[in-house]
């Protein structure tokens, strides 16, 4: 069964008198364990697509089945719950809370999980996620004491802490240099290979999209092309020692 199933998804915005069609009928199936890279220039509708897949937005028309469940008609709080349990977000700007330690940043999704999680368990899970990202010794550093790559790894730890089945990465390498970018892509690849987590990556860079197992090009709110891809090998490109994602 597909983890993501989009059926003729449409999304229109009204800006003043102008009706903008961000998505003009998108149908898509994503199977568990795929690493899907969605590419397209700005304004192509890829961000809107990601927001809908990420349950941050609702389609105007069409159906969205996440893990077999129709989420197009859920309330705001129900969607919040799904985001919390099933989806891990990795953002371009990391979006870490300033003046807050790495481990506390990783704990944030756990604050909102139901039922309420005991303090010790929360701290324990957050530490494990950080250690898996090779940041066990940086747990009490604040974001401004960490490098860009380390910050993005904290953000990935935060995305992983609630053990989601899907990770949505929105331009995760946009603020990183090329070496660090490869590091982040390798982490995503390993998450897919070792944990079977489905990855949906949004990027406008073809280089980055090439790390996926499937590349979807979006243009003018429609799917332009959708083809399988032999992913680039991060080990061959940057044989740096980074923590194994276990």
């Amino acid at each position: 069964m597909s983890i993501i199933s989009l059926q003729d998804l449409k999304k229109t915005y009204t800006l003043g008198d102008n009706v903008v069609q961000a998505l003009a009928g998108v149908s898509l199936e994503i199977e568990p364990g795929e690493f899907v890279a969605i590419t397209g220039p700005s304004g192509s509708g890829k961000s809107t697509l990601m927001h809908i897949i990420g349950c941050l937005d609702r389609p105007t028309e069409g159906k969205y089945l996440l893990d077999g469940k129709d989420v197009s008609g859920l309330t705001r709080d129900e969607l919040a719950d799904i985001r919390n349990r099933q989806i891990g977000f990795v953002f371009q700007g990391f979006n870490l809370l300033p003046r807050t330690s790495a481990v506390e940043n990783v704990e944030v999704p756990l604050l909102y999980s139901r039922p309420v999680m005991p303090v010790a368990e929360r701290r324990d899970k957050a530490m494990k996620a950080l250690i898996a990202m090779g940041l066990g010794d940086r747990a009490h550093h604040h974001p401004n004491q960490l490098s860009g790559g380390q910050q993005q790894r904290v953000a990935i730890a935060r995305a992983l802490v609630n053990e989601p089945t899907l990770i949505l990465a929105d331009e995760p390498t946009g603020n990183l240099d090329s070496v660090t970018s490869i590091e982040v892509m390798r982490i995503l690849q390993e998450l897919r290979e070792r944990r079977g987590i489905t990855i949906v990556l949004i990027t406008h860079e073809p280089d980055i999209a090439a790390y996926g197992t499937r590349v979807i090009a979006v243009r003018d709110g429609k799917i332009l092309s959708d083809r399988p891809n032999a992913p680039r090998d991060t080990f061959a490109e940057a044989p740096v020692a980074i923590a194994a994602v276990g």
């Binding site: 927001h51 705001r76 709080d77 919040a80 349990r85 935060r158």
Partner: protein, 528 residues
């Protein structure tokens, strides 16, 4: 500890992020809560000072006296327990005011009473007793062992029928029962005698004939305007142990020991018994200087229990009662009357064997023959309600006006403080839009976000509230110290101020919290 409550920690962090604005908003709340605490303190202080003044004027004093001089002629006490009134001058005709008596009738009545007083003591067979105690007590009878051809102190206080008017009916048990009534401040049992006091071991056998009061330790609280020239007043231990100690009035001290002498520690003799002098009482007020023959300072005081022990009897002449609040004197007097009727098993159709008088009644009767005074005040049964309670009510109304004004100021200050809180939170929501968006994206529900901001406001207001309580207490103390305004800071108002502050926080954070909770996560995440 904060780590256990991450949401509290968040609120703290958020508040610390804008120290200046937080401090200003907190000051707003502090001023509001402080004004509230101060206004309550001022209101209660004004209330208390009214009560204190009326109390100092003796307006709260109720005197219960054994016997009832009007027994034979008195109307029955009505079932409501209204202070007994009499038909001596004119029958009550239903209205509050008696009909004006015909002049010749009043004259006749007065003449009749003068006759009684001139010819009779308490032992007089007439049954109508001279009301002035000085007349009937002007006899040598200070030696309880002497054989007399007339009733002695013991007889009058004891069981020998000595005329209806001086019937000895009050006991210490009555006093104890009165003390248990609500609204009672002090109860002092009294036995009053005349006696010879002499200096012990004085070769000259210097002695002085004076008033002897058997009393209790609280008498100085009941008598306003007393001060101790030397030593102390009788203590509870003296009364409980019926010890032979004596406090003497300034006049007595002057006559026995020389003007201005300090007789504390000396020994005097009363009824051939030795008493140690422990104090000298004098007047604090220039208005009532000690004079020979007065009832307070030409007098000596011993524990009532000591008199009871020496005379081997348990009856009292008087029970002095003060009420806590001047306004309820009439009601309390009524309750005392009903209580004593019940305790003395006086049936519905039987007159009292005691009398209860308030100071207002006594004041009106001053200078009149006691019987006449009683006739007048008995008919004007609501006299003290018309005076003291009206005075106290009008003072209270003035207070209420002032209190309303202060409460208005406090309310406005609280509103301003609340608006300050709201302003801070709106700023906070705007500055933290991105954070709020992130939290929503990571799974925060609306109520999680809203709660965070409400909690922030509650914390802020509680901190301001604590400061406000402290500030209000300081302000109250300052007003009392520098302006002599009377204030009473009640612990209750201090405790209640905090929930009020918290409620203020909730009320003024609802709008910002709602705004934060309704943010669109996509828009919020794009916010710079």
């Amino acid at each position: 500890m904060l780590a256990r409550y991450p949401i509290l920690q968040l609120a703290f962090h958020a508040l610390l992020r804008h120290r200046m604005q937080t401090a200003l908003a907190m000051i707003g709340v502090m001023v509001g809560v402080g004004a509230l605490v101060t206004s309550v303190a001022l209101g209660r202080g004004a209330q208390q000072s009214v009560d204190d003044q009326l109390r100092a004027a003796g307006a709260n004093l109720i005197m219960v006296t054994a016997g009832n001089f009007q027994r034979a002629r008195e109307e029955m006490t009505d079932p409501d327990g209204n202070i007994g009134h009499t038909a001596l001058l004119a029958p009550r005709t239903g209205g509050m005011w008696p009909q004006a008596p015909r002049p010749e009738y009043r004259l006749a009545t007065l003449t009749f009473f003068r006759g009684v007083m001139a010819g009779g003591g308490p032992w007089a067979p007439t049954g109508y007793v001279a009301a002035d105690p000085r007349l009937m007590l002007a006899h040598y009878e200070d030696d309880p062992l002497a054989i007399h051809d007339h009733p002695t102190a013991k007889d009058r206080l004891g069981d020998v029928s000595a005329g209806l008017g001086s019937a000895a009916t009050l006991t210490r048990a009555d006093a104890a029962a009165i003390a248990k009534l609500s609204g009672v401040q002090y109860v002092v049992a009294g036995v009053h005698e005349n006696a010879h006091i002499s200096v012990a071991d004085d070769p000259g056998r210097k002695q002085w004939f004076t008033r002897l009061h058997g009393t209790e330790a609280k008498l100085p609280e009941v008598r306003s305007g007393w001060s101790m020239a030397h030593g102390r007043f009788l203590s509870d231990a003296d009364v409980d142990g019926s010890t032979q100690v004596m406090v003497i009035g300034r006049i007595v001290a002057d006559r026995l020991f020389g003007d201005g002498a300090n007789p504390v520690g000396r020994t005097v003799t009363l009824w051939n018994q030795r008493f140690r002098v422990v104090g000298v009482v004098t007047s604090r007020s220039w208005a009532s200087q000690p004079t020979a023959g007065d009832d307070q300072f030409d007098a000596v005081y011993v524990p009532v229990t000591t008199i009871n022990r020496l005379l081997n009897l348990s009856k009292l002449n008087t029970i002095a009662v003060t009420s806590e609040s001047a306004g309820d004197v009439s009601a309390l007097a009524k309750r005392i009357k009903l209580l004593l009727r019940e305790r003395h098993r006086i049936g519905v159709a039987t007159p009292d064997d005691f009398s209860v008088a308030t100071v207002a009644q006594q004041a009106i009767g001053k200078g009149l023959s006691p019987a006449l005074a009683r006739a007048v005040t008995g008919n004007l049964q609501d006299i003290d309600r018309l005076t003291i309670e009206q005075l106290s009510a009008s003072l209270r109304r003035t207070n209420l006006t002032m209190l309303a004004l202060l409460a208005g100021v406090a309310t406005v200050s609280l509103l301003v403080g609340g608006i300050g809180v709201m302003n801070l939170l709106l700023l906070s929501v705007t500055q933290r839009t991105r954070e709020v968006g992130l939290r929503i994206a990571l799974g925060a529900r609306r109520r999680d976000i809203a709660l965070q901001f409400v909690l922030e406001a509650i914390l802020l207001c509680l901190a301001g509230g604590v400061l406000g309580v402290v500030g209000g207490m300081l302000a109250s103390g300052g007003l009392e110290h520098f302006f002599q305004w009377s204030t009473v800071v009640s612990p209750l108002s201090a405790v209640l101020a905090l929930p009020v502050a918290a409620l203020l926080g909730v009320a003024f954070s609802l709008y910002p919290a709602r705004r934060a909770a309704r943010l669109d996560p996509i828009e919020a995440l794009r916010h710079e």
